[in-house]
Symmetry: C2
Subunit: 413 residues, 2 copies
């Protein structure tokens, strides 16, 4: 394969139909930010949005803002915008609470559909909060249910007609591996089970098609590829066919049929509204609109293609420039099986990542040996990839990372 | 009783030891804001705080902010500050999630303490989200529990040694009536039951003494008298004696003993941390610090005294200026039995409140006939009370409200 240089990468940027989006983000100087898979970058319009919510709405209109600025329906309004990004319909998505709380809600709702079944299929190596949430729910329900933890191919094998719910994350947080949402959902439903998908590492980075895959429920966060802000609220999806039937148990006044009637007893709201619980953090919630607005203007097919090309380029450049330094690819090489990130394994991974970060190449490290690099297609350029891998080469060639390793040992002893 | 005039009220402001706090809030001009019991006013430092979190932390330091700015421990840090305002100790309070989600957590935890008991005593006329939360939990637990709804004196009578949990709101959202936290908690615990208190309408408005009353668990919001911002996160309190024993079921990675070990299985964190669930909305969360900072500098005994004097003055002026217009006091007249708000009942309450609001006197209306006026002692002045009641008199005397009533009927038909 031909050797690439920086000019080749710059040419790819010139040809990039999404290149214009980078201007919408305030990226720090002298930084290559490859951690948008953990916390997305700040859109330039973020402060204007916050100024509006805090000063003009809270500060000036005070309590009237609930009506005048319709704070009360922010979860639905933002959900409708997000719906267009993940293949859902209007009235099927809410932006609210945290991913974990939302998972508790939809998992509880999903378990009501086949109440006599007791098995929940999950991936043991998944980002663990999903597993913890399911474990908490199972314990609360009196340990009647059993979580079947499976990995890779064994996931599909574990799905049979004794299973109540299959709860999986589409893109693996560590390896970036993509599960086949359509095939797995088909098998799940062929077995009479209910599908729950976590989109944390896919929403905003690829063309997710919830209704095209006939998914039952989904959750996710807005602070990664949707650039909603630090710890910004999560989202949930419930397919219309389950509305009014599969109800969730965190029943607060926002999910009541008539919240301002102040009835003593809970009556579930119609539609997606029943999935709401209590009052939402309006400043963080309203802030997510800036990132969602960008995502809704981006063609997710182009986003997916660029994401794959960025990953392919990264892998190719690591082979070309860093082939001698003992890195193992810990993500699928096939771009169709990989989300928007690449993981490399290296026994000195921690020290190498520290050396990269101190040079402004921001990825992250996951024990025991994984360096993660995320490629948010709306603001990462092909030249960024060149710069990142060039720095990685320099760090390895000059053994800069050994000083980091030394510092670390010094700090431990 | 002597007739008062505006000069008398202005003199009270001159003598007010808390008067200086008003300068810390950005109150709109030509407004008397008597709705801080619903949404507190904006502290002037709010935008500086948001600018710091959004631009300097999220925007510049991006993912590093989780460590550099210690976002990860914001719930505990803010909780420790709030603890000093509500009579709790460091390590017993978290600012996190919503009030309802927190109530679900502590109610679940409380029910584990006397697992053979099945009765939960609540107040039927309470702000209903607490009741809805309990109803959702009871249903999820298989309807093994029974909620005993009681009112006023019957609450205490309902507490006996068959009761598992007594879950009450200290200050009633509508009438402002204060329950005797110490006496009720004593009786609760004498019966072997567990006490859960909702402080939504008391935290920041009066001297709450959770540990002085030996309370087991508590929840509340930060967006009323703690001025944390629109829908800002809730809080929860768990007495140290329950840590590590009474666990909550919304088990997310923030409540894990080693969140960054990414273990497959949940192991509860020590101490209050187990009460955490998932990732928090950092912008809204960090913003609460501005209001909490003000509250921690205010002597809550002085706050309580001023709150009572504002309420007494309001009631006295309504008698003096509006005695002929058919208002009924719908709050306790005795200031010791009343929180920081006064409710008036009037058959044309809705229209009267609309007329007040259109003149910049901001209270609110609760069906079928209640006008609510909240007195946030840190920024409401005695002269404000005069101005509010003077406007009320003018509206009644000139029958201005009848036009509102007319408009309303027009809108309905």
């Amino acid at each position: 394969m031909a050797q690439l240089n920086r000019q080749d990468c710059e040419r790819m940027d010139v040809d990039d139909p999404l290149a214009g989006f980078r201007e919408e983000f305030a990226l720090p100087e002298d930084t290559v930010y490859l951690n948008g898979n953990s916390l997305g970058a700040m859109p330039k319009k973020a402060m204007a949005q916050v100024q509006q919510t805090v000063v003009n709405e809270w500060g000036k209109d005070l309590i009237k803002s609930w009506n005048v600025h319709d704070w009360f329906h922010l979860p639905q309004r933002l959900g409708d915008r997000l719906a267009t990004v993940i293949g859902a319909s209007s009235g099927e998505v809410l932006v609210t609470d945290s991913t974990g709380i939302n998972l508790f809600k939809v998992l509880s709702a999903a378990l009501t559909i086949q109440p006599e079944r007791t098995k929940i299929v999950m991936e043991g190596s998944n980002f663990p909060t999903d597993n913890y949430t399911a474990q908490g729910l199972v314990k609360l329900l009196g340990d009647r249910h059993e979580i079947i933890f499976a990995e890779e191919e064994a996931i599909v094998e574990a799905i049979d007609d004794s299973v109540a719910v299959v709860c999986l994350t589409q893109v693996h947080y560590k390896s970036g591996r993509v599960l086949d949402m359509k095939a797995i959902t088909e098998k799940t439903q062929a077995c009479g089970a209910v599908s729950v998908w976590d989109l944390c590492h896919s929403a905003g980075a690829m063309n997710v098609d919830l209704n095209g895959c006939n998914v039952d429920f989904a959750v996710g966060c807005t602070y990664k590829y949707l650039n909603g802000g630090a710890g910004s609220p999560g989202f949930l999806f419930a397919a219309k066919r389950h509305h009014g039937k599969a109800l969730q148990p965190l029943t607060g006044w926002w999910g009541h049929k008539a919240p301002f009637a102040f009835d003593r007893d809970y009556t579930p709201a119609d539609g997606i509204d029943q999935m709401l619980s209590g009052t939402q953090p309006i400043v963080s919630l309203a802030l997510t609109e800036v990132g969602l607005d960008i995502a809704t203007r981006a063609d997710m097919s182009l986003v997916r293609r660029k994401s794959q090309q960025l990953g392919d380029l990264f892998i190719r450049l690591v082979e070309q420039l860093c082939g001698d330094y003992g890195f193992q690819l810990a993500s699928p090489k096939d771009a169709d099986r990989r989300g928007s990130q690449v993981a490399l394994a290296h026994e000195s991974g921690y020290a190498i990542m520290q050396a990269l970060i101190s040079r402004g190449i921001i990825g992250d490290y996951r024990a025991p040996d994984t360096l993660r690099f995320g490629f948010a297609p709306l603001y990462v350029s092909y030249a960024d990839i060149w710069d990142a891998v060039s720095q990685l080469k320099d760090i390895m060639q000059n053994e800069v990372w050994k000083q980091e390793e030394f510092n670390r040992r010094l700090a431990v002893t």
